[in-house]
Symmetry: C2
Subunit: 211 residues, 2 copies
């Protein structure tokens, strides 16, 4: 986790005011996976990070502004922790495996105490239409689209059987990751992560072109 | 949904006091998938169903008692809506398909406005150890175990390939259902349900004994 944070910091040197905003948002993103984005009142967050409420109000005019900024921070953490480390993997099927493994490792290392930030936030906001739900849904769609694009590239390369539907394959891989998230959080049992790894591996294996 | 409620009522005729408690809990279970089980304060619930707070306090001594009773009511609704209608399906592979289809239909008919009650409640309570989390996790384990037991029976019958691990198969089927829940809630797109049906069908097809 500290390696992740270092990557984020290294990427974005910040002036003092911004660094302090970033510190608040890092704490907010982690707290939101435990108490919910709705539980993220400015008062509760100020108490949690030991800042004054007026200090927090200087950064965020409203609860919704705080929530939207928190979602963006979670996306930066996810990008640095899950996506960026796989950037060097070129072959699309290998990249699909690497992304799945990076996600499972992200759960295993408990980067967020409540598992995947976006799954947690989606479960909270799925029945609350508005800009926060839209932003969360947008990030989840983007992730699924990333998997689908890789599957489509793999198919174009001949690394995936012509009978596969890239969108369907992406849906199924993402399902295993989602299941890992729920099962691991509820049971604390690493066996759930082993099952998810096995599912991803078997599914990709089956998708290879028939010899 | 009214058919479901009729089944529940028919199964359990209730005296007046109990019927009123049941009415409260039916409303509480549906409301909880929108506002969360934590959002289910006695005051909020009284307002939602147009009852006095003191009337509600007569039924539930504490918020936790209300939450636990709400989870039990959701389990009764799930039993009546998803599990009972498949009771007549004897062959275990056909029952696995029937249960998956009944779950997807449960989402499609929006029996709970926030999708699967247990997934919604799990996402809220996964980071809150205690009796409410335990009860939610227990119901989810029971569902997964049901799928695993059916897979094991199918294997014993020779309807499932000997190379399959029933627990792994159950994990993967449940993953597709979980993904259907999240994707349908976020997108309102019935295509997500079609993908889940296709995934379940293809996975069970692949699990059949090699000819």
């Amino acid at each position: 986790m500290s390696a992740t944070q270092e990557r984020i910091r290294a990427r974005k040197p910040r002036a003092d005011g911004l660094r302090s905003r970033q510190t608040i948002l890092d704490a907010a993103a982690r707290l939101a996976t435990v108490e919910g984005l709705e539980g993220l009142s400015i008062g509760r967050l100020a108490e949690h990070i030991g800042m004054s409420k007026s200090g927090l109000y200087a950064h965020f005019a409203s609860k919704q502004e705080l929530q939207l900024a928190t979602v963006e921070t979670a996306a930066e953490i996810f990008q640095a922790d899950v996506i960026a480390p796989t950037d060097t993997v070129d072959a699309p099927v290998a990249r699909l495996e690497a992304l799945s493994e990076a996600f499972i490792s992200h759960l295993e290392r408990r980067v967020f105490p409540g598992g995947c930030f976006f799954v947690s936030a989606a479960a909270e906001f799925d029945t609350h239409p508005g800009p926060v739900k839209e932003k969360i849904a947008g990030h989840l769609r983007e992730w699924l689209q990333r998997l689908e694009d890789l599957a489509a590239r793999a198919q174009a390369n001949g690394d995936l059987d012509a009978s596969e539907d890239p969108a369907q394959l992406a849906f199924e891989l993402d399902a295993f990751l989602l299941m890992a998230n729920m099962a691991f959080l509820l049971s604390d049992d690493p066996d759930t992560l082993r099952r998810a790894r096995a599912a991803v591996h078997a599914r990709l294996d089956r998708a290879r072109p028939a010899p």
